[in-house]
Symmetry: C2
Subunit: 332 residues, 2 copies
DNA sequence: TTGAAAGCGCTACCAG
DNA sequence: CTGGTAGCGCTTTCAA
């Protein structure tokens, strides 16, 4: 016997044909209980594990789903991958994980590699706008976009504009007029949509847009911190800050605590570790990765099992979770 | 042409044999530049992507590494997977990700599934003590244990006992004698080792062990918080707390801030989000997941490329990072 | 430098 | 209920 036993070894050991072993392994009917028992015994004695490459090659369908995201170091995506894996496992599929690092070329390489690995489907947090090169594979490999929608694909997203408007509305209701927006990053439609929500809400309330309150390129922790610190050098600093993503939220709160400006109202888009511990606890827009991940993998499984299903954009609801920091009234 | 072009389609399109296409795809020498160019053109025109199943089946070696961890929702493991993926990609390998959920049965299923998927090697944060069932696969699929060592396998770990002793030593040097240990979990050798370091350090300094200061089963955020709160119901509460993992650290700090005991000294094993933002910032033992992940994937690649390499346990250094909370003197 | 043919382990098809 | 055989797409061996 070779390194790893093959179906042939098992068949020889059990004294049956390979086809019978195949039937047992795939739990097909029409195998005598006695035969089945004998085969099962041989399988466990030899430690046989089916060769997934051979199976995939022959059948044309793989046994894994691909998940392509910005970076797994982001807790949002970590949670997303976690639920996807759990659900995939229940369908007897593994997870091939790949990150884009926000790079379109790398995104492309990763997607094509996954296609070559015959994944059953792909969940993608897209970077590029256009994925025309995937057209050839879509028929056999359904794709669900998460976090950022793409028109010609199924997607699972939250309504960024609406959620942000609700947050800004709350600030205005509490008397704030100097409201900052931290975390803008032109590369992502999520933050541009959130900025659009910010803009709309201000316009609706007749508050003029002040560009000094919405610094660019502040989507990462350190940038957001620096940007926030900069706000307090302004002639009239903000009394409320909207953080457009959790990393920006961390930077904003860090800056406020470092400088003692803990009376400034804060709402963060997305929860982050410790947001509930700090005082005041940080209010946030609940963009639950478990919820999103679940919807995405369910959708993908549907597309796998029922090809040709009508394309769909799934928009999940968000709540504004009050924990203190977002409920601070304007003072002056 | 079928759904996806195969090497045969490319060969026909370019007017060469499949072997020549294979040579081009695998960047083998001895192909005329003109021939190579023609084949490359056909490949891009047809959108050919090599079928990884066929390649794996024929060659017997896969094109992915497996990573098996407790849960990707743990930021430590998320960072670990992140570096592993980056390095694997440089070797033209993908990452098959699987979680154990701390369950031995699931660990086993996942490992056998990965074996069936012909991964080139596996990085595993082990749950079970014994992995005898893997013996058959070890020859062809090297395995590197991370975080928790296993004697018969290569492993990459930190010296838990020594690192913890250093932390407790610092507490004693600052005058503390009532030192609590939060985050014990008998299931993991890491926390039992850390507890052992705690025990040793106290013994060395002649401080009697007080079991009420080391509550059991407090390795998760909420448990740790509850356990910490419980400490302040004691006749003589602790003046210093050692948190045995980052999640315990979050729970401890949450409890201290909730109750206003911010004068209690704290050192956490492992950094966590916001540990630097809270006041006082939390001192921690630097168990850098990037460092560990790097060492693990480098080791795995060595084992893949040079089978039969002598088994090795790699112990990484840790630093005690002073940020304030660990440097608080005993008051009474 | 290029090609023809065998065969990896498995499943699908068709017989018995 | 069970078995033989073809062939998935590719790499490997041997020839030309």
């Amino acid at each position: 016997m070779r390194d790893r036993p093959s179906i042939t070894d098992v068949a020889a050991h059990a004294g049956v044909s390979i086809k019978t072993v195949s039937r047992v392994v795939n739990a097909e009917a029409s195998v005598l209980p006695a035969t089945r028992a004998r085969v099962d015994l041989s399988i466990s004695e030899l430690g046989y594990v089916p060769n997934s490459s051979a199976r995939t090659l022959k059948s044309g369908v793989g046994d894994a789903v691909g998940v392509v995201i910005d970076t797994i170091a982001d807790p949002f995506f970590a949670a997303l991958v976690s639920v996807i894996e759990t659900r995939a496992l229940a369908e007897d599929m593994g997870v091939l994980f790949a990150s884009t690092g926000f790079d379109e070329g790398r995104e492309r390489d990763q997607l094509l590699r996954l296609a070559g690995q015959q994944v059953r489907g792909i969940i993608l947090a897209p970077v590029a706008q256009d994925h025309g090169y995937l057209e050839r594979y879509r028929a056999s490999t359904p794709i669900v976009m998460v976090d950022r929608p793409r028109d010609t694909f199924d997607s699972v997203v939250v309504d960024d504009i609406r959620a942000t408007r609700a947050a800004i509305d709350q600030f205005v209701r509490l008397g704030h007029t100097r409201i900052a927006f931290i975390g803008f990053d032109a590369r992502f439609s999520t933050t541009t949509h959130r900025y659009e929500g910010y803009r709309q809400a201000l316009a609706e309330h007749g508050i003029p847009l002040d560009h000094t309150l919405a610094p660019q390129a502040a989507a990462e922790v350190t940038d957001a911190k620096v940007a926030t610190l900069g706000l307090f050098g302004l002639a009239s600093p903000p009394t409320a800050i909207f953080a457009a993503n959790p990393r920006a939220g961390i930077g904003v709160v860090d800056a406020l605590h470092t400088t003692g400006h803990t009376g400034v109202a804060v709402i963060s888009f997305g929860d982050f570790a410790f947001a509930s511990v700090i005082r005041p606890a940080v209010s946030y827009i609940d963009q639950d990765p478990f919820h999103i991940g679940n919807a995405a993998i369910e959708r993908l499984i549907t597309l796998i099992n029922e090809p040709g299903t009508q394309r769909k954009r799934i928009v999940l609801d968000t709540n504004l979770v009050a924990r203190g920091s977002g409920e601070i009234r304007a003072t002056a």
